[in-house]
């Protein structure tokens, strides 16, 4: 195994191989550990990025909408129910701050209920009372009084529900931010674990190569001469592990992405990352290499500083 030189000159090439770091056991296991940590970190980062965009997306898609639910008429007569919907629409449309109000077509409601009730039960011959839904769009930025509308509707049409999605949304956003916080904590912990791993591996290498390091020291090598070799090697190992880890993370995210798209639900907002965010995830490899480099250098300089 040879230590590749990051710069092309013979001089640095020879410098890089004075201490045979490439032969250490850590040269074999460290890239794997780093790859694993980078994989976790990249996924955690992706989670943070996606979840933080969810809150906004949910607010944008769901605030400004209401769903009004009208129970079937007590006699369950189609015409009576239809009249109830019509008078509800009149009341809603007369309310200030409303952009539009559209009844959800009956077959669409049946579609929504079908998974729970089954097609057969829903056929009108069986006469199951199906509630009607009205989609209401509100003007952006208007503080709409949901309770007042609900009261007015109920005065004329009993059994009317107004759902502003608010409670449900708040809980969802709370869940998303909790997951986001955990993912962020994981990110921090992985970094700490990564630093600890590099410190440990570097100290082990320092012990293995104590003789050569002492020789260089009495020859008049500056601490930086030795530290350069360690940090170059650590940079190489960090990059190697980082690239592997990010590659694994991209594959994982691609698989998760296609699973996500397969979920047919309006509940899940589209989980996509923009160019900058993808760059951020790919940059985890570079961050790993940088952490590895800086940690190794600092560890070596600290240890050598104790020599006379």
């Amino acid at each position: 195994m040879t230590t590749p030189s990051l710069s092309g000159t013979n001089n640095t090439m020879a410098n890089a191989t004075v201490i045979p770091l490439a032969r250490d056991a850590s040269s074999r296991f460290l890239p794997w550990l780093i790859a694993f940590m980078v994989w976790l970190a990249a996924l955690a980062l992706a989670a943070v990025l996606v979840l933080s965009s969810f809150g906004d997306q949910w607010r944008n898609t769901l605030t400004g909408t209401l769903t009004v639910q009208i129970a079937a008429a007590p006699d369950d007569h189609k015409i009576t129910t239809e009249l109830r919907v019509q008078s509800a629409l009149r009341i809603i449309r007369a309310t200030p701050g409303i952009v539009s109000a559209k009844p959800v077509p009956l077959n669409q409601i049946s579609d929504l209920l079908a998974p729970w009730l089954g097609r057969d039960l829903l056929t009108e011959t069986l006469g199951l009372p199906i509630p009607r839904l009205i989609d209401v769009k509100l003007k952006q930025g208007v503080d709409f009084d949901v309770a007042a509308l609900w009261e007015r509707l109920n005065k004329e049409i009993s059994g009317t529900q107004v759902d502003d999605h608010g409670v449900w949304l708040d809980k969802l956003i709370a869940l998303a931010s909790a997951i986001e916080a955990i993912a962020f904590a994981i990110l921090i912990l992985i970094s700490v674990a990564g630093i600890a791993t590099v410190v440990f591996a570097t100290r082990t290498s320092l012990t293995i190569h104590r003789d050569v390091i002492e020789l260089l020291h009495v020859m008049g090598a500056r601490d930086e001469f030795v530290a350069d070799q360690f940090h170059r090697h650590a940079m190489f190992l960090g990059l190697k592990g980082g690239v592997a880890g990010v590659a694994l993370a991209l594959i994982t995210l691609w698989i998760l992405g296609s699973l996500w798209q397969n979920v047919e639900s309006s509940l899940l907002p589209p989980a996509s990352l923009d160019f900058l965010q993808w760059t951020g995830i790919i940059a985890v490899a570079l961050v790993a290499a940088a952490i590895s480099t800086i940690t190794a250098r600092y560890t070596v300089l600290r240890a050598l500083g104790r020599m006379p």
Binding site: N11, V18, E214, L215, V218, G220, A221, P308
Partner: protein, 242 residues
């Protein structure tokens, strides 16, 4: 702090102890002038290597003052010590060659440490290796070399950066008389061009054949058999052979 003018090394009441063990060198005081050649003799375990370690700044003394090239070591900032160490060449008792590097790269090491250019390295190292008779072994790695060949690589490495002070720790310990004499000639050559030499040995016949002043270690004390370079608080304690 500069002191001692032309003195390469100056020790004042230096004591050495390892850990909590007994003091193995007591009150060593000496002055070595530039351009001299000294033997350092004494039985095995007398402290020759320990004394040399102090001279190449591998470890500080337990007590006393050391100055090298006029710099008081204790008061010299740590970042200035590498430059002082580079002016000292050392031939270690156990060679300390790096096994995975070629003879060429081993010898080039002090130049690389000093930041020399690749051109300088390519020019000077093969030249020196051929001077010590190893032109056929430039690319050889130490494990493939004989004891005498390793020794010559070690010597070449010690002198490649033209040290002002050359310390040799029993360099003739592992070679036959014939090679030992050739090495002596080599050291004398280096001395003639101005290198101060301290040559630790317990080879009496060599000392007799190539006469030079001698520093002798016994019972943790340094005695001078030369011409007065050893300074002591109490000169009457010193044995003299002249």
């Amino acid at each position: 702090m500069v002191q001692g003018g032309g003195d390469v090394i100056r020790f004042q009441n230096v004591g050495v102890r390892y850990g909590v063990g007994p003091e193995i060198l007591h009150d060593v005081s000496l002055r070595l002038e530039e351009g001299r050649f000294h033997y350092l003799t004494g039985a095995s375990g007398a402290g020759k290597s320990s004394l040399l370690r102090l001279m190449y700044l591998a470890n500080p003394p337990s007590r006393g003052l050391i100055s090298l090239f006029g710099h008081d070591i204790a008061s010299t900032p740590r970042r200035e010590l590498p430059a002082l160490r580079r002016r000292v060449g050392v031939v270690f008792q156990d060679f300390r060659l790096i096994d995975h590097l070629t003879a060429m790269e081993n010898v080039a090491l002090p130049l690389r440490v000093a930041g020399a250019s690749e051109e300088q390295i390519q020019e000077h190292v093969p030249e020196l290796l051929s001077w010590v008779g190893l032109s056929d072994h430039i690319a050889a790695r130490p494990p493939t070399l004989s004891g005498g060949q390793k020794q010559r690589v070690a010597i070449a490495r010690a002198v490649i950066a033209r040290p002002k002070l050359l310390l040799a720790d029993e360099p003739t310990g592992n070679v036959d008389d014939h090679i030992a004499k050739r090495l002596m000639h080599l050291f004398e050559e280096l001395n003639k061009i101005g290198t101060t030499v301290v040559f630790a040995t317990h080879n009496e016949s060599l000392v007799n054949e190539f006469p030079h002043p001698r520093l002798h270690l016994a019972d943790g004390e340094l005695n001078d058999f030369s011409s007065g370079e050893v300074v002591s608080d109490d000169d009457s304690e010193l044995e003299r052979d002249e």
